[in-house]
């Protein structure tokens, strides 16, 4: 899932996939703004066939936190 998520992220920001880690913060490290994040999450919903709860994801700052949340949704 991490590799696929990196692919999605790289459609939005000019960062090499190998530079993205689970600790990468979307805004500070990867250069996202709030609008890009929402669109990227929309793509992730389609890619992983999940439905994101806005309230739950609002405070997540790193790739790892979001992936962990996605993992839970996929396993539901």
């Amino acid at each position: 899932m991490l590799e696929k998520f990196k692919e999605i992220i790289c459609n939005y920001v000019e960062v090499a996939p190998e530079d993205i880690t689970e600790d990468s913060r979307f805004i500070e490290d990867l250069g996202f703004n709030s609008y890009d994040i929402m669109c990227m999450l929309g793509d992730a919903e389609s890619e992983f066939d999940i439905e994101i709860d806005q309230e739950k994801i609002a405070d997540m700052k790193t790739v790892g936190e979001v992936l962990e949340y996605f993992g839970g949704l996929v396993n539901e």
């Binding site: 459609n11 999450l41 806005q54 609002a58």
Partner: protein, 472 residues
């Protein structure tokens, strides 16, 4: 799904694509407006350096060659009436030159506004005009007028930056800009949205919003207009307003916020991890509340550029969608609580902004049963961060100015654009308005109170909305 169809136009076979929902918004505007220039966007980009006309002509040609949407044409099938778009192959173009360097600024603006009011031939004609111009004080650059169905403000900025960067690369050895994204690829992605799982999710969201009790119209001049409509329609409970005019005559008033004040807003937004747009929206919605008897249910229509991916950021074209952003915030909420509520609503709007604007308008009318032209928002808003990154650094030491020109028409009764100046990063507030909807005094009043609420709020983030309203 294959969207492309071969069509023979003027004896030449072109790859043709249907128009996207974002383009159809402007075609709809044209349909309901008596004049075609309402969809024109006029701008000027000027550097304070000696002009090299040959290099600028070359830069403009290279930029047009790299930007497919600059060569986009619309064709109306004479048999079916269907609209199609196609890309004209690049041909070297000669750009005229006008020397206004000895003219007064007011007179120049008058001329360039007049150029911007020249309508394009939407169905079949070229949809842009570029002229190289010299201005007083050593500023040189180009005037650019484009049809809204081929570019929105994000595209205009991206294209203009591309021209300037190519020009600087040719003349000063600066790095040559990376290629533009494919316009056709972005069109195909937009067309593929129809019938997708994403569209289903977005439709569910918007239908849920429309199942809520009816919003209430809050005018930027106060409740008078809604009262008048209630009297005219003999309906004391009417909640929708109407701000359409017959001829779309309009103007734009620009307010420049100084750099220090802009930095206060930016620092506040950073400190509390809030988008700048949310801070400004909080101020506008609080003013609308203040002007309308402290109403807590406020709707502002938010324009979304939909330029998230790297492809969309550089693909040109028009991608802007708009939706009403409704927030119900109690007066006892603090400034920070208000801003966080606005952020949450704006995030949801962003997530579902691929939905067709025209489809939403149709469904909103069906849901609440208002007359054509009815609405709940009196203010349209967009925040354009586009110019702040890159250009300021690129032009270190070179004077630069950017101008927006008016076609004399406005498609919206009141449209506030907040945009950073390329020269110093300070915020400009453009109030585009229809003459039948507002007076310059009313605009001044709105800007004055928006500024007061904005700075009182960021100085007192723990005060309640009611306290901020009372302080201003």
């Amino acid at each position: 799904m294959e969207f492309m169809q071969k069509k023979v136009i003027g004896g030449i076979t072109y790859d043709c694509y249907p128009l996207t929902p974002a383009q159809l918004v402007h075609i709809s505007t044209l349909r309901y407006s008596p004049t075609a220039e309402i969809v024109n966007i006029g701008t000027g980009q000027y550097l304070q350096t000696k002009l090299n006309i040959a290099a600028l002509r070359e830069a403009l040609n290279r930029a047009v060659e790299r930007c497919e949407s600059m060569r986009m044409r619309i064709w109306k099938d004479p048999d079916t009436g269907e609209l199609w778009q196609y890309i004209e192959p690049y041909r070297n173009e000669y750009f005229e030159y006008y020397d206004f360097s000895e003219w007064q600024e007011d007179r120049i603006t008058e001329v360039l506004n007049k150029w911007t009011s020249q309508p394009f031939d939407t169905y079949g004609g070229k949809l842009s005009r570029i002229v190289i111009v010299s201005l007083p004080d050593g500023y040189n650059g180009f005037y650019f007028n484009v049809h809204h169905s081929c570019m929105d403000s994000s595209s205009v900025i991206a294209f203009s930056r591309d021209v300037m960067e190519i020009y600087c690369a040719l003349l000063y050895g600066m790095p040559y800009p990376k290629p533009m994204g494919s316009y056709i690829e972005s069109v195909e992605k937009d067309l593929a949205y129809e019938g997708s799982a994403k569209q289903k999710r977005d439709a569910e969201y918007w239908h849920k919003q429309l199942a809520m009790p009816e919003p209430i119209y809050t005018d930027f001049t106060g409740p008078g207009r809604l009262m008048t409509l209630r009297r005219e329609n003999k309906n004391k409970k009417q909640r929708w307003g109407k701000l359409t005019t017959s001829n779309g005559d309009g103007s734009t008033i620009t307010y420049e916020l100084d750099v220090d004040s802009t930095n206060k807003i930016m620092d506040f937004a950073r400190k509390y991890e809030l988008p700048v747009s949310v801070v400004i929206l909080h101020a506008i919605r609080t003013v609308l509340s203040k002007f309308n008897g402290n109403e807590k249910d406020i709707t502002i229509r938010n324009f979304v550029s939909r330029r998230s991916t790297l492809l969309f950021k550089k693909s040109g074209g028009v991608r802007m969608h708009c939706f009403p952003m409704r927030t119900i915030i109690p007066l006892k909420a603090t400034v920070l609580e208000s801003m966080r509520a606005i952020k949450k609503t704006q995030d949801e709007l962003f997530l579902h902004a691929d939905y067709s604007t025209l489809q939403y308008i149709k469904e909103q009318r069906e849901a609440y049963g208002f007359e054509p032209g009815g609405c709940y928002h009196s203010v349209n808003f967009t925040y354009q961060p586009g110019t702040i990154n890159g250009m300021v650094d690129l032009l270190k030491g070179i004077g630069f100015k950017s101008r927006w020109y008016s076609s004399g028409k406005q498609p919206q009764p009141m449209y506030i654009t907040a945009m950073h100046r390329p020269s110093d990063g300070g915020l400009n507030f453009y109030f585009g308005y229809q003459l039948d909807s507002a007076t310059p005094e009313e605009i001044e009043f709105l800007y004055y109170f928006t500024g007061r609420v904005l700075f009182r709020s960021i100085e007192n983030p723990d005060k309640t909305i009611k306290e901020i309203i009372d302080m201003t």
